[in-house]
Structure formats: structure tokens, C-alpha cells
Symmetry: C2
Subunit: 176 residues, 2 copies
DNA sequence: GGTGTCATGTAAACAGTTACATGATTTT
DNA sequence: AAAATCATGTAACTGTTTACATGACACC
């Protein structure tokens, strides 16, 4: 799963500059790339070379000129092709589990403290995700079904953190 | 969260060779590194330089000589220090969500097919994780509490996939 | 006068994967 | 005869992050 396909997706929604894409990717909960310049501007050059996008330079007074990228038919076909390809399993990287794996050297209080700090972080992040969902900037809403899909995508992330929260609370209970 | 700390943890359980570590990391559900040679053998060299481990070369007839790595007091202190450090948020990379985000261009049947393929993959992987938990190779069991922690770590992974499965089933229902 | 937004890009470093390389023994 | 296990390591590549670099304008 390459960031190029996320960019292609966003451009299939609306023509954008690298700067726009950066903001959309950074704001997104499910596009898991950091959205740093290096990745985005390099990808755009590659997408141009592939012929999946075109760009138009727009000069502006009083702010830097920008390149507005638009998806081509070839790019749309590629996107469609990819959307229908075999789904990947999620990659769950939970560093905390590795930390917890060797936590038996802590005493009861230290261990519970550690778990409570994790609980607090998850709890905070969950609230943040819920807030983000309420705000929902940058959400395409072209059909009812698309709105439903995006709603459920946001719900997926939230339910993951809710699940994590329940788990840590259960564990703390068990260890009392 | 570096693989070095996972290795240090494993060595705090028992002295091992790079080869052993590779197997343990590959088999683990929660140590999310692939366990490729490059990473492991390079990390071991660094851990030696740091003074966190020592090694003893054991020559063998009829198989290559091996280096048995043992954690030092300095390494143990470092591990303990790290285990008690502030927990990181999980990193959830779900490529499928990005795929689904642009799936409104598929017709109902294609979309349901896609979701059913994802459901099947998750379902299979969930069974695999449950089987892995039953098998539980390479699980330290030095205290009751440690056993409980490892049990809950395995449960964490399983519940994540169970949650994902429920989510996709719900979505399919919604789209009927 | 400092910070934030708009807008592009590059350089260096680090992390991670795949594939290559060797070589003996054991199992199928 | 082929494949798997034991055991070490390297080379090349891809992906990702952090930091640097520029420059005008707007807001506090």
C-alpha cells in the first residue's frame, strides 16, 4: 500500500496542490502516512511520469505559484483497478505490548501506574478521534453510499481505540 | 520502539543466538518486526557496542559455530528503565481503509465482494492467532503475573482482529 | 518583531525488506 | 535428489522521518 494510491484517490475527489494533499493526509485518521514533503512531492513527480496525473502551474501575486494536479483517465483506471484488488491485512504495531511483555520486573504499583498512563493516552486519543469525526474536514460526500463508507471508516478507527481502552481496563481489573 | 529493546527483553528471559531470536520474533504476534537477518545481526552488534549484552562463541561439530548472547547488568538496567518509560500509542496501519475510501466507484456486487474478501482474510488470520495462542511456543512463565501478562497480550491481538471482523460484518449489513 | 499560513522543494539519516552467500547435516 | 534446519552474515533497495532552505504576506 503506497502513498501514491492515497494521493490518486484524493485527486479523484478534487484537483489539488501538494500543499493541499499534505494537509488532507495529515488530517486524516486512516491515511497513516505522516504527509511529509519529501514523500508527497516525490510521489507527485512519479505520478506525472506515470501519466496518472497532469499539472497546471498557477502563478499568483503575493503568494508562491502553485501546481494544481489533476487525475487523468489513465490514473482513474489505475485507481479503480487498485480499489478492486485483494485487501491487505491491517498492520498493528503496538509497541506497548512489547513493553508490557517484560514488565514483570515492576512492582504492583509501578505496573498499575504504567497501565494507567497507557489508559490515559488511549482515552485522550479516542476523544481526539471522536472530535475529528465530528469536525470531518476533507470528507467527500458525492453519494449517500460514499458518505456511509467514510462514516464507517472513521468508526473503524474509533472502535479500534475503544477496544484497546476496554482491554487495558480489563487488564487493570485482573491485576488488582 | 526499537527492535533492540525486544531483543534485550528476550535475552532477559534466556541467553540466545541470533538464530533463536529470529525464530522467537518471527513467531511472536506482538513483536511486529519481520525478524530478518539484517536487523537482528546488526542490532546484536550494536547491543555489544553499547555493553548491554556479551557473547560467547560456541564451536560445534557438524553445525556452524554459534554466538550465545547474554544480557549484562547494564542491559538489564536499561531494559527496566525502558519498560517503565511512557507508553506509545499503537500505530494502526489499515491499508484497506484507504482502499475502501475510494470504493464508491464499484457497483454493489463488486463492493460486497471486496468486503467479503476482507472478511475472509481477517477471519482466517483471527483463527491463526487463536491457534498461535493455544500453541504458545516461546512464552516465559516465571511468575503467575508474567503468565497473566502474556495471556493478556495474546488476547489483545485477538480482540483487535475480532473487533475488525465485527466491523466489516456490520458494514456489509449496512450496505445490503 | 515573532509567529503562522501559503507553497515549493532537497539532503541526510534511519528503518525495514528482499535477496544473496556459505556450508554441513538431517529429513522427506 | 531435493528440501528443511542450523547458523552466520552482507548488499541493494525502498520507505519514512527530520531537518534544512526560500520567500512573501497577514496577524497579533
Amino acid at each position: 500500500m503506497s502513498i501514491k494510491l492515497a494521493i490518486l484517490g484524493l485527486l479523484s475527489w478534487k484537483p489539488s496542490t501538494g500543499y493541499d494533499l499534505k494537509k488532507m493526509i495529515e488530517d486524516s485518521s486512516f491515511m497513516h502516512w505522516s504527509g511529509n514533503n519529501n514523500q508527497i512531492y516525490k510521489s507527485l513527480v512519479q505520478l506525472l511520469e506515470d501519466g496518472w496525473v497532469t499539472h497546471e502551474v498557477q502563478h499568483q501575486e503575493s503568494s508562491p505559484s502553485k501546481k494544481i494536479y489533476t487525475i487523468t483517465d489513465k490514473g482513474l483506471a489505475e485507481l479503480r483497478n487498485w480499489v478492486d484488488s485483494s485487501p491487505e491485512l491491517p498492520e498493528l504495531k503496538k509497541g506497548f505490548l512489547t513493553q508490557l511483555a517484560w514488565a514483570d520486573q515492576l512492582n504492583s504499583k509501578e505496573l498499575d501506574d504504567l497501565l494507567s498512563r497507557y489508559e490515559a493516552e488511549i482515552s485522550l486519543h479516542l476523544a481526539l478521534q471522536e472530535e475529528k469525526k465530528r469536525r470531518s474536514l476533507y470528507v467527500p460526500n458525492r453519494t449517500e453510499r460514499e458518505a456511509c463508507l467514510w462514516e464507517m471508516i472513521a468508526e473503524n478507527i474509533i472502535s479500534s481505540y475503544r477496544n484497546e481502552l476496554l482491554w487495558v481496563q480489563q487488564l487493570r481489573q485482573k491485576l488488582v
